[in-house]
């Protein structure tokens, strides 16, 4: 469930890793905070991670929060689930500046950036209607990650813009 969609203040950009930051992200007890998501991309972040609330995760989303780094940023918090580096790397496609905070017992215990993976599997669907992956075949979509785009490993179509539109929500 998306339990919270409201503007939040963004103190920590002003004071790096200071107490205000710790306090704000520590609103969750255990889980993952995805920060510095480009404004407007928070729901795509959830979609690309396959987090739709059906597994009972407690999810908070802040959209268009004032930020120093961007004019506006989004922030996503997932209670009770630690996302692995492999899981979050796919975010580099839509939120390349995202930072990942792993929280345990209200403390940020790990902080890392997303890295561009070589391939992403199963998260995007090919926009080419003539691609073999768009039919009923038992095949998982696979995209090569290029500088500035993705490319279907089957039909080789390159997508440079609007990658978020390819997110497989099925």
């Amino acid at each position: 469930m998306v339990t919270e969609v409201r503007p939040m203040s963004d103190d920590h950009d002003h004071h790096d890793d200071n107490a205000a930051h710790e306090l704000r992200v520590s609103k969750i007890q255990d889980g993952t905070v995805i920060d510095h998501v480009r404004g407007g991309q928070a729901l795509n972040v959830l979609a690309i991670l396959g987090i739709d609330g059906t597994n009972g995760e407690e999810v908070s989303v802040g959209m268009n929060v004032p930020s120093n780094r961007f004019a506006r940023k989004d922030i996503v918090k997932v209670e009770g689930r630690e996302l692995s580096q492999d899981e979050v790397d796919v975010l580099s496609l839509i939120a390349p500046d995202a930072t990942i905070n792993i929280v345990r017992d209200y403390e940020v215990v790990e902080k890392h950036r997303v890295e561009r993976p070589e391939y992403v599997e199963g998260v995007l669907s090919c926009p080419n209607a003539d691609c073999i992956t768009t039919g009923d075949e038992p095949v998982t979509s696979r995209f090569e990650v290029l500088p500035g785009g993705v490319r279907c490993a089957y039909c080789e179509t390159i997508v440079r813009e609007e990658i978020a539109a390819l997110i497989d929500t099925a």
């Binding site: 003539d130 691609c131 073999i132 009923d136 075949e137 038992p138 089957y154």
Partner: protein, 328 residues
């Protein structure tokens, strides 16, 4: 050559290409020497869209190696019609055969199908994607007529949808070539292809043009492809545009005497029949080369998979036909 399958010309190194062309030349010179090489081997022909010529040349090639073919038949009469996936079809047919040839309307079909089978699978065209066996016979023809290094080639016509063009252009990046692409603006090479050509070809120069005239005199090879009527909104537009990319004797007055003219055939009116009897014309030779080149490919792939000794090598699944959902 160590590949499990032949999916795209991009997978082929220069050494791979040379292996195939050398073998094709050997076979061309002495076809009798391989007449029994693949006795008992069976090739499965899976053509999900019609292509009489490609299919016939594969069938001829397999039979000239002493083997035989089994043919899925037309899609209308097969279980595909009932909604079977390609993944299922290839897994069933691989049990009957030693190798598969696949032509399918969807891009990426061969790449996907190859993930489901252990026998070698040769891509005979996947929609607007690749057609590597055509490429190899094109390369063979170029080698015989002009040589593959220090080559200046013009590729003209429908460069957007023409898979033979894409496959050929990739393969030529393995050699020192200057590639000129000549087409109406609406039928230029897709950006994916241009991207790849620039990625792959260190020794390759790529130029795009809208007319043949400025480059014609520099060409060793002119590869002409058909511009299809259905790419244009109306007949007038088609006639106007397509007419710019047709050649006749008069066109070739500006060309080198050594020019080789190629075409994957069938042609409609891209090349005037008066060129057929000149030394420029290599397109019928190109079509004939389909057999030795496909023989070479089948020989190499069947041998790599241990069915090339000429001994009895019928697959152990050959009796399995009545167990599965056989194609009627």
């Amino acid at each position: 050559m160590r590949h499990d399958h032949l999916i795209t010309s991009k997978q082929l190194s220069r050494a791979d290409i040379e292996t195939v062309l050398d073998r094709a030349a050997e076979i061309d010179a002495d076809p009798e020497a391989v007449a029994d090489r693949h006795a008992n081997a069976l090739l499965g022909l899976l053509f999900f869209e019609p292509s009489t010529r490609t299919k016939m040349s594969f069938e001829t090639a397999m039979k000239r190696l002493g083997g035989d073919v089994v043919d899925m038949g037309s899609v209308e009469s097969s279980s595909v019609k009932k909604g079977e996936t390609l993944a299922d079809t290839v897994r069933v047919i691989e049990g009957y055969t030693d190798a598969l040839v696949l032509r399918h309307p969807k891009q990426g079909a061969a790449a996907m199908a190859s993930e489901f089978v252990d026998v070698p699978l040769l891509n005979a065209g996947d929609g607007a994607g690749h057609h590597p066996t055509q490429t190899l016979l094109d390369l063979y023809t170029i080698q015989e007529n002009a040589g593959l290094d220090d080559l200046t080639i013009g590729i003209m016509g429908d460069l957007k949808y023409g898979r033979t063009v894409h496959s050929l252009a990739y393969a030529l990046t393995n050699f020192e070539t200057r590639q000129h692409f000549i087409s109406p603006e609406s039928l230029q090479l897709p950006r994916e292809v241009v991207y790849d050509l620039h990625q792959q070809g260190e020794d390759t120069q790529i130029r795009e043009h809208e007319t043949l005239e400025p480059v014609l005199s520099s060409l060793d090879v002119l590869y002409v492809t058909r511009i299809q009527r259905e790419r244009f909104p109306d007949e007038d537009e088609y006639q106007k545009v397509a007419g710019e990319y047709q050649i006749d004797i008069e066109t070739l007055e500006a060309a080198s005497d050594e020019l080789t003219v190629m075409h994957p055939l069938p042609r409609v009116d891209e090349i005037a029949p008066e060129i057929d009897d000149t030394d420029y014309a290599a397109y019928f030779e190109q079509a004939h080369n389909a057999v030795p080149v496909r023989m070479a490919l089948l020989d190499l792939f069947l041998r790599d998979h241990g069915t090339g000794t000429g001994a009895a090598t019928a697959t152990d699944d050959a009796a399995n036909g009545d167990g599965g959902e056989a194609d009627e």
